[in-house]
Symmetry: C2
Subunit: 203 residues, 2 copies
């Protein structure tokens, strides 16, 4: 049944919130009524932060990560190893890897993965600019850190072929049992790969 | 661990979203990155809808429901029975009761319930204006439709005493087994009340 809203302004705001992923009309109403109870200045700040974010955020010219400047802090840093490029699907993956504090190279954000089902082909992604970065020289290793799915594997293979003519080491992030996981509950493919790709024991 | 954001504008927008109830920083990031992928016009529309809602929405002078005008459509309607007032906690309760299409009277939105734990006393609620509406005459029945909690019962009793001197019928919404519920899983208090307040059988 169509919900009756006592105000058109309320309805419009609820509809806008309900467009966000994972937010239904009931949750949207709850969020809008919460904003309605806040101070006007706080609501202005909320709306302005969204607008300023949309207008102000740039994408790094080099790695296509989100940035406040033309070149992101990672690409412009003198402390990072610019001979290693880690290829990821999106901005959240960069943040996830940065949070591990285990990687000191640069990134390359593809902006998606090849997915014919969703109509995303290689030309929709930042693959040519990755090839240009490698062609420019100085890159020793490209690490492919895409999702372990059919689409991720397809994209890995496409990039592998594109970079085949260049003298650069290509590697894929390790797939295996998650730290803390029970062996018996791991799926067969993951467990199989973890045995095939076993690493020397260190203590 | 503190998440590292590649952009301060992004971080600011995420922080604003994370202030909303039930939205953590991970969800906030997902929503903000979604907005970042949308057209500028759509994002403007989102932010403007929030601002316009905050600036434009009024509260009905009579029942304190949300409204685009000084008096809400329900209070100004000629089709509604203005001798019956249903007292509710908030705007969402009005919408819930309207959706049942079972009530044709007017409403009175208290804006909360008496809750000493949260520092909400009778003077924080629209109780005096309810008494004024009854005192003005023409009201035959006041239906108390507050939550069946300790706070709801306290508020019911407070309103009952405030209206004791007026010639008005006071009623409380029926409490009993939900339609479709299994009897054996109902709690004792609800089941007990449903037996005490049994209604004549109709077929």
């Amino acid at each position: 049944m169509q919900q009756q809203y006592p105000s058109q302004l309320l309805e419009k705001a609820v509809e806008e919130f309900a467009k966000l992923p994972g937010i239904g009309r009931k949750t949207a109403l709850r969020l809008v009524l919460y904003l309605l109870r806040q101070e006007t200045a706080d609501v202005e700040q909320f709306a302005d932060a969204v607008k300023e974010m949309k207008h102000g955020i740039k994408h790094c010219k080099v790695c296509h990560n989100i940035s406040d400047n033309d070149v992101c802090p990672i690409c412009s840093s003198q402390q990072r190893d610019n001979s290693t490029i880690c290829v990821v699907e999106n901005v959240r993956d960069v943040m996830a890897i940065e949070n591990t504090a285990q990687f000191n190279g640069l990134y390359h954000v593809l902006g998606g993965i090849i997915s014919p089902m969703d109509g995303i082909g290689p030309s929709d992604l930042e693959i040519n600019s990755l090839v240009s970065r490698v062609a420019a020289g100085g890159v020793k290793e490209v690490i492919l850190a895409l999702s372990p799915t059919m689409e991720g594997d397809t994209t890995n293979f496409y990039i592998f072929r594109k970079l085949a003519d260049y003298d650069v080491k290509l590697s894929v992030i390790a797939r295996g049992i998650s730290v803390g996981d029970e062996l018996e509950y791991a799926d067969e493919v993951t467990l199989g790969r973890s045995i095939l790709n076993r690493t020397p024991f260190k203590c």
